[in-house]
């Protein structure tokens, strides 16, 4: 894998740390429900799922 594509994954990693840290995660910390479920749970699992999809795409597309 080229350095550039490796860096995409590292940026994803940093992005995840940001997404789960205080200012941003607290934004979703409301008692409101989204699709009938607590917003924070939806947020955490959706970010989680997206990160899997992104890493899957990067790994598969730039695999050499």
């Amino acid at each position: 894998m080229k350095k550039r594509h490796e860096q995409k994954l590292i940026i994803l990693s940093i992005g995840l740390m940001m997404a789960f840290s205080i200012p941003i995660s607290l934004l979703f910390n409301s008692e409101k429900n989204v699709f009938g479920y607590p917003m924070i749970l939806i947020y955490l699992f959706v970010v989680w799922m997206i990160s899997i999809i992104i890493s899957f795409i990067i790994v598969k597309r730039y695999d050499e």
């Binding site: 994954l9 205080i22 607290l26 607590p38 924070i40 899957f56």
Partner: protein, 898 residues
């Protein structure tokens, strides 16, 4: 379910594991070795009983706090592409077999550091193994609905643990070289990881769809709990803060936990498997966690008001509904997560114990005098003994210390203790200046904080409600450092890592480093540069003899393997086998050979014993490294340059060869020209001589001689003109005037001057026109010349009353002209040569040549200038010339062909 039946199930299950391990070990087929999913699944050894039971307890009692131990890893996993790839490379080239080896080698291959790391790992992991044993035992009694027996010998859990110990010691110590891959064990772990996920999915579906009416049903009912909202949101900024710190603890744990290091680094069979793990492992964790929420809240709904341990909801729920099958499934899933954790932890800890503690501190002297068989047996026995000792220690721990505490807190404490290795671990890959002194003092300080902050209170509280007496006074001193918005574990994590990192960095930059650790620092940080020739990056100066080192190697590897290794080494570096003194590369190579068996530190000590190292200053090391780095770059450049030179010299050689050929051709050509010119000149000269010598020649004879002189002169000038013309054609001095022309008209124009001759010889001339179109692109005057040359040639060789046939056709975008004439065949071997200059003059002695002998050579040049091909072949009663010219000739092509 009766104890006996469940025990039988466990036995069958263990037999299945043995069978898979045996199969993988025996077959060693490519499909198993190359399978990235076996690697990715084996990483799921991360999910222990803590995940399987503990998380559900946490989710039910303290809400979102069950998530950090999964969220933490997924934050750092994408970065594995950088971190783990490098660690795998470093470990491969240095034959690293454990976490202790990895860190201590970087800090100067220090024996003491590796021993400290081993002790840290023991401190953190033994209680954790105890936790797994506790889970096995408690769930066993839960499923069989028996009470726990206080007598160890009659407790079924004891037997299960003994079986696991047997399994790990058998498959974990098959290779004396600890850096070898244990495919058997890893395949069994991968199977277990798959099973535990499968069983939790079954339980999840059972709870969601059979016990309740789908996910939303659980959710609706659960949201009536008073604390539901509070449990499913962060408890303000404080809650989020605690949550974040827990994420960080888990993120470091997924990289540094000895069992994770073992499965992710030591057992990595191919670097590219990391890529699969990067998406697969988070997916695995996601599926696992999704079911925790419904099981936890479903459990609370079912057992509302009853006093049951929420950690065991997963077993209690199916049991509550009398579903024995699912109860046993869940029990087996839990058993899987416990067993895999115990096996891998016990193996990697036993390697550390033997290679980093027992051997370097006690048995090196003994090994020096024993032979290979004894040594191999001793090393494996130490590891087997260590595995048993560890599991017994863990068992004792479980029996006497952690009976009362929850799965969650013991797990987190061991994460925090292990996290103390984080500064030196990450410092090893990223920071060159990090030094041994800094790393050790940071680690010890961090450990002390963990010990007093977490470990003592944890076990003290198992027996007492609160601090009393002296201890209370002692702890009161530290109340100043209390952080009110963090709970106890995140607080201690913060202070310990803070102190640890501060000491590590400050001491590292203020103390002068040791040359050996700086050497390894360069090798670790710049692993990509040294991956190909890492032995060159090892700096060592002194006197050493190959025979002494060989002597040591033979005691561990045996005679044959040593010889074999030496041969490989000599071959790799192109060293003469009779060399007596060892250089730095050989020292590093030998240390590597021993490292897997006795650990890096012991290998260094053994080799040091038979060599004499000269002191090198740090400055020198840095200079050498700088040089070697430059050398590597220079080498790369030189290789590139030499490749270029090679190419150039090849080109030159070819050019030279073709020049030699051309030169010879030129000579031949000159010979032929001279010969050709001589014939008419001789004729002119003899005619002239006769005319000059004899005045009485009759007028008619005189007339004939004079006309001879004129014909021969014409012939002479024709030859010279042709030579000049050919020369111009060859040098591209004659530009083609390519236009659209009618080929039939051109043919007619070419034919006209020849008609007279044709009639004279009474030759039958015919044309066949197969063209769809008649307009083509070519240079008309050249084409006329071409026709005339070929037709003229044909005329020359056609007997009287013979036939000449011209055929015009098209084929595959090409204009095909074939001219056939009856008459003498061209000798087969000459078919190619007739287009050479003066061909006829050399080979034709029957007829006196008419024409210059350059006609066909000129024709070939003209065809080539049109990007076409001309060839001659014998057919039937005569000879056929075939000319093919492509439809459109672009200007470029023409120029190229010229």
């Amino acid at each position: 379910m009766s104890s006996f039946a469940l025990f039988a199930v466990v036995l069958v299950y263990l037999a299945l594991l043995f069978f898979v391990a045996h199969l993988a070990e025996k077959r060693k087929s490519k499909r198993w070795i190359n399978n990235p999913y076996i690697y990715a699944l084996s990483l799921a050894v991360y999910c222990t009983a803590w995940t399987y039971y503990g998380s559900i307890g946490v989710a039910a009692t303290s809400g979102l706090n069950y998530l950090p131990i999964y969220i933490g890893p997924i934050m750092i996993i994408p970065a594995w592409i950088y971190i783990n790839t490098r660690i795998v490379r470093i470990s491969r080239v240095n034959k690293i077999s454990s976490l202790a080896d990895f860190i201590s080698l970087r800090y100067g291959n220090s024996r003491s550091f590796s021993a400290i790391i081993t002790i840290v790992c023991l401190l953190a992991i033994v209680p954790y193994i105890g936790l797994q044993i506790k889970a096995i035992s408690e769930t066993f009694h839960l499923v069989t609905e028996t009470s726990m027996s206080s007598n160890i010998l009659t407790d079924n859990a004891t037997f299960v643990v003994v079986l696991i110990a047997l399994f790990s010691s058998y498959y974990g110590t098959r290779y004396v070289d600890a850096s070898e891959k244990r495919l058997g064990i890893i395949s069994a772990i991968a199977l277990e990881s798959f099973l535990k996920l499968f069983f939790i999915i079954i339980l999840g579906i059972f709870v969601i769809y059979f016990v309740f009416d789908g996910f939303s049903d659980i959710y609706e009912k659960a949201s009536k709990f008073k604390d539901f909202k509070e449990k499913n949101t962060f408890n303000g900024i404080e809650g989020a803060m605690n949550w974040m710190v827990l994420c960080m603890i888990s993120a470091t744990a997924i990289c540094i936990l000895p069992r994770q290091f073992h499965t992710a680094i030591i057992e990595n069979r191919q670097e590219k498997h990391i890529k699969t793990a990067i998406w697969f492992f988070p997916l695995y964790l996601l599926i696992f966690t999704i079911f925790i929420f419904p099981i936890a809240w479903g459990g609370r709904l079912i057992f509302d008001g009853q006093k049951v341990n929420p950690e065991f909801y997963s077993i209690l729920i199916p049991q509550h509904f009398d579903n024995t099958l699912i109860t046993v499934f869940v029990f087996l899933g839990g058993l899987s997560s416990c067993i895999s954790m115990i096996i891998i932890s016990a193996i990697t800890l036993s390697i550390m114990l033997s290679n980093n503690l027992i051997i370097p501190y006690g048995l090196l002297g003994k090994f020096k005098s024993d032979n290979e068989v004894q040594n191999t047996r001793n090393i494996t026995n130490i590891r087997k003994f260590s595995i048993f000792a560890l599991i017994i220690m863990a068992f004792v721990f479980y029996k006497y210390f952690i009976l009362k505490t929850s799965l969650d807190s013991v797990g987190l404490i061991s994460f925090v203790v292990i996290a103390q290795l984080a500064p030196s671990f990450f410092g090893a890959i990223f920071w060159r200046r990090g030094s041994y002194k800094g790393a050790v003092s940071g680690l010890l300080a961090g450990l002390a904080i963990c010990y007093f902050g977490l470990i003592i209170p944890q076990y003290y509280f198992s027996y007492n409600q609160e601090f009393k007496g002296v201890i209370r006074e002692m702890y009161d001193v530290f109340t100043f450092f209390n952080i009110p918005f963090l709970s106890r574990i995140p607080q201690i994590f913060f202070w310990s890592i803070f102190t640890n990192t501060a000491l590590f960095t400050i001491i590292s930059v203020s103390v002068k480093g040791n040359y050996r650790e700086r050497n390894f620092a360069e090798l670790y940080v710049d692993i990509d540069k040294y991956i190909q020739n890492h032995e060159n990056a090892f700096i060592w100066r002194g006197t050493a003899y190959i025979s002494d080192i060989k002597n040591i190697l033979e005691r561990f590897l045996g005679k044959n393997k040593t010889e074999q290794a030496l041969r490989i080494f000599n071959l790799k570096y192109n060293i003469d086998s009779s060399t007596e003194t060892a250089d730095s590369r050989f020292i590093k190579f030998s240390e590597n050979l021993l490292a897997g068996r006795i650990g890096t530190a012991s290998a260094k000590i053994l080799i040091e014993g038979v060599t004499k190292e000269d002191k090198i200053s740090l400055k020198e090391v840095l200079n050498i490294l700088e040089e070697s780095k430059e050398n590597i770059i220079l080498n790369k450049k030189l290789t590139e340059q030499s490749e270029e030179l090679q190419k150039l010299s090849n080109d030159l050689r070819m050019a030279n060869e073709s020049l030699i050929i051309k030169d010879r051709q030129k000579d031949d050509f000159l010979d032929s020209v001279a010969h050709e010119l001589r014939t008419p000149i001789t004729a002119i000269r003899s005619a002239g001589e006769i005319l000059a010598d004899d005045d009485d020649i009759p007028t008619d004879i005189k007339q004939e001689f004079l006309s001879n002189i004129i014909t021969e002169s014409d012939r002479l000038s024709e030859i010279i003109n042709d030579i000049l013309y050919l020369d111009k054609l060859e040098h591209g001095e004659i530009a083609l005037n390519i236009k659209e022309n009618n080929i039939l008209e051109t043919y007619k124009k070419a034919l006209n001057p020849l008609l007279h001759l044709i009639q004279q010889k009474n030759i039958h001339l015919s044309e066949v026109n197969l063209l769809n179109q008649t307009v083509f692109e070519y240079d008309e005057s050249r084409m006329i010349q071409l026709f005339q040359n070929i037709l003229g040639n044909a005329l020359k060789f056609t007997d009287d009353q013979g036939t000449i046939q011209t055929k015009l056709a098209e084929k595959a975008d090409q204009l095909i002209i074939t001219i056939f004439n009856t008459g003498q065949h061209i000798p087969e071997e000459d078919l190619e040569m007739i287009f050479d200059k003066f061909y006829q003059s050399k080979n034709q002695n029957i007829l006196k040549p008419t024409g210059s002998g350059l006609g066909l050579a000129i024709s070939k040049k003209i065809v080539q200038a049109h990007s076409g091909v001309i060839k001659a072949e014998n057919s039937g009663l005569g000879v056929t010339f075939t000319i093919s010219i492509p439809y459109s000739i672009t200007k470029n092509e023409v120029e190229q062909n010229q």
